[in-house]
Subunit: 84 residues, 2 copies
């Protein structure tokens, strides 16, 4: 189960592109605020495994490579809980 | 440039999973309402080209294979304009 506060603490490296509260800094990147938690976790898992390609997948694979399952759940919980 | 009304008219086959107004029917799928238009267009282009994998990319490639650039722009405009 994801922990929102822990997710926020772990989100610093996400914020440059996706915004501190999930509003992307560039319209080529997705907003994450209010996105479905299960989808966000799946996307992070896919990036980490290298099974998701396209877009910024190379960068995302690098950013997710060291994440644990708990990190992924926490980050998904944090962004899902942000107001779109 | 995307046309919102035309995008709505073309969105029928998207709605089963992503909702008529971009609220996904299953939390494993992403909400599209209020997502960045440029990101949505890029994602559709990547799916169509087959350069995006992971998640439901196989299904998305099938759904996007017949889309024109104008269709993609219209669909991106429609979902970006929906209230999250």
């Amino acid at each position: 189960e994801g922990n929102i506060a822990n997710g926020q603490a772990k989100s610093a490296s996400c914020a440059a592109c996706h915004g501190a509260t999930g509003k992307a800094s560039n319209t080529l990147y997705p907003n994450l605020a209010g996105q479905n938690e299960a989808y966000l976790a799946l996307a992070l898992q896919d990036y980490k495994k290298g099974s998701r390609t396209g877009g910024q997948a190379g960068i995302m694979q690098a950013f997710t490579s060291a994440l644990t399952e708990q990190d992924i759940d926490d980050l998904a919980a944090y962004y899902a809980a942000q107001k779109p």
